[in-house]
């Protein structure tokens, strides 16, 4: 009977396509908005992702997320180096400095100052130049998105000429030389990122009593980094996090204190409502249209459990097709735009499962109404003309 159930479903082309379109749209909207949300959220801790080497981040106890910079005294680095289980510890500067462009306008840049000796915390991938080139006088490395975009020079015909190695830049009234172009994970603020040495960055930065943003450290081999973090907390009174914990802290900060979740949830809810309304209503209408035939099958000896399975199968089939199309379109959209724009799109398998659950919920809700109608159907209806 299940083959016939599918023929009944597919045979009614208009409704079949209507249900599929509704579910595809719902699946597309839910997947796309969730993936953008996940992408945006993953950018909030992109700096932590890029600085892969250290397994301990030490910050002021009041820091709530990665960009919440509360500077420390430089001497804290030495204190942390003295904690048992710390293999090495280096300073890291992170701050916003203004770059003056050719046309006289200013562009805020995220400036990262790396430990002068080790250059730990540098960009994950160099496109031109080397990280060690930062040792050259007034050398900086610029991220490629910034170099091509907000820091690009103005050409004669209004074209944008990307910043390249050898170009100069004015950073907070200091002339610097571009010694490399790097590739980094896109940032939440979407500002250009400039890498330089710690000593140079603190020279460029407006003068304050304390300028050390983070101390990044590594636990000695065989030491549990969580345990070392605890020791640092006890010994220095500072907060020490593993990268995973710091990402979590950042993620939940943005989740709790920004309007992002509610904005994205609204869009996801819209997709869900559209799915329920269009697909649910169309599926229910499809069942109503076929009520006479369900009644005929019932009169001819089809049990309620078989009819239930037939309707469930119809719902699951349209659900699977709508889900597949929606997720496929969302993925294609993400793949198409990710390489060309700065769109944040991150589609982990968990999101696919959540979308699948949402689409199945829509289908089963629609099916539940139809099933109720068919279960209550008196087979005697077949004799009414």
């Amino acid at each position: 009977m299940y083959y016939y159930a599918l023929k009944m479903l597919i045979g009614d082309r208009a409704k079949y396509i209507g249900i599929i379109i509704g579910l595809t749209f719902a699946s597309l909207l839910i997947t796309q908005q969730s993936a953008i949300f996940a992408g945006v959220m993953s950018r909030t801790f992109s700096f932590l992702t890029d600085v892969g080497l250290p397994d301990i981040w030490v910050v002021d106890p009041q820091v709530q997320y990665i960009d919440d910079i509360k500077p420390l005294q430089d001497t804290k680095v030495i204190r942390i180096r003295g904690v048992t289980g710390v293999a090495w510890a280096v300073p890291l500067y992170k701050g916003s400095l203004r770059a003056r462009l050719d046309n006289g306008t200013f562009q805020t840049c995220i400036t990262i100052g790396l430990d002068d000796e080790t250059l730990i915390g540098g960009p994950p991938r160099m496109l031109s130049g080397q990280i060690s080139d930062l040792r050259r006088n007034d050398g900086v490395i610029v991220d490629d998105v910034g170099a091509k975009g907000k820091l690009a020079r103005q050409g004669p015909n209004g074209t944008r000429i990307p910043l390249k190695v050898g170009d100069t830049l004015e950073l907070n009234d200091h002339r610097v030389f571009v010694v490399g172009i790097c590739k980094i994970t896109e940032t939440f603020q979407a500002n250009p990122v400039i890498y330089t040495t710690y000593s140079r960055a603190t020279t460029f930065a407006p003068q304050e009593r304390k300028l050390l943003s983070f101390v990044i450290a590594k636990a000695t081999a065989g030491e549990d980094s969580e345990v070392v973090c605890q020791r640092i907390r006890e010994a220095t009174g500072l907060m020490a996090y593993t990268p995973a914990k710091f990402k979590e802290l950042t993620f939940y900060y943005y989740l709790k204190y920004t309007g992002m979740p509610i904005n994205f949830l609204t869009a996801v809810a819209l997709g869900f409502i559209v799915g329920i309304t269009i697909s649910g209503q169309t599926f229910y209408n499809f069942t109503l249209d076929n009520l006479r035939y369900f009644g005929t099958l019932k009169a001819m000896g089809t049990t309620n459990s078989t009819l239930l399975k037939m309707i469930l199968l119809q719902a699951l089939i349209v659900g699977a097709i709508g889900y597949g199309l929606g997720v496929g379109l969302a993925s294609a959209w993400g793949a198409l735009l990710s390489g060309r724009t700065q769109i944040a799109f991150f589609l982990p398998w968990q999101l696919l499962l959540i979308t699948a659950a949402a689409v199945m919920f829509i289908c089963l809700s629609a099916a539940a109404l139809s099933i109720r109608k068919v279960m209550k159907l008196e087979p005697a209806v077949v004799f009414r003309s």
Binding site: M1, Y3, Y4, K7, M8, I10, G11, D12, R292, Y293, T296, L297, K298, A299, M300, G301, T302, T303, N304, T306, E378, P379, A380, V382, F383, R384, S385
Partner: protein
Amino acid sequence: MSAPISPPPNQKIAVRCQGVTKTFGTGAAAFQALRGVDLEVRTGELLMLVGPSGCGKTTLISVIAGVLRRDGGTCSVFDHDYQTMTEQETTRFRGEHIGFVFQAFNLIPTLTAAENVSTPLVIKGMNRKPAVVEAREMLRKVGFDQRMEESSPQDLSGGQQQRVAIARALVHQPDLIVCDEPTSALDSETGHKVMELMRGLALASNRALIVVTHDARIYQFADRIARMEDGRITGIEIPQKPAAADSENSTPLKS
């Protein structure tokens, strides 16, 4: 064709109803559709139920076919009483023993003619492919054009659709076939052909047929005609055959 004066005594009793009642609604809105119906139908017999609209014909065949529960009286079909059976047992009994022919044919529009005919076999548990093969055979028996077996019902004429419906009612070899106005949507000639087909196949298979109709042109195909009025059987007649084509030529048997 010769008609027996009373239910053929040497044949098995297919349906026996005594004092069957059925009321729809409650209180002031209650409507008593059946007010104590007594009826007996034997195998090998084609009984027609006739009477004005609203007299209870359809309600009575619904009760006999097990698609509607009666309120009172007794009614057994091949010695099975639906009141003593569960809903599921009744459904299975219908699937095994009863064939249906409907006024509006009720063919599923998205299935082919052969697939429509195969549904009772699939409901009984047969695999689809052999069921469709048997369905094609049955379609040939009812004189259905072989080239049209894969056609959708909407591509068929009324007469062709009714042939498909008859094939569907017969394919699983039921013991009782109930027909609701099988010729009302057909022209006179097609109606006659359909009735000839039903009568031939029913008698050949030694099963009972109950036909609800308003169509006086087909009375001649009945063995007996039970006339209903206000929820009761008011008379049983045998039609004059073969020339008689209306109820005025029928002979009252009992009332």
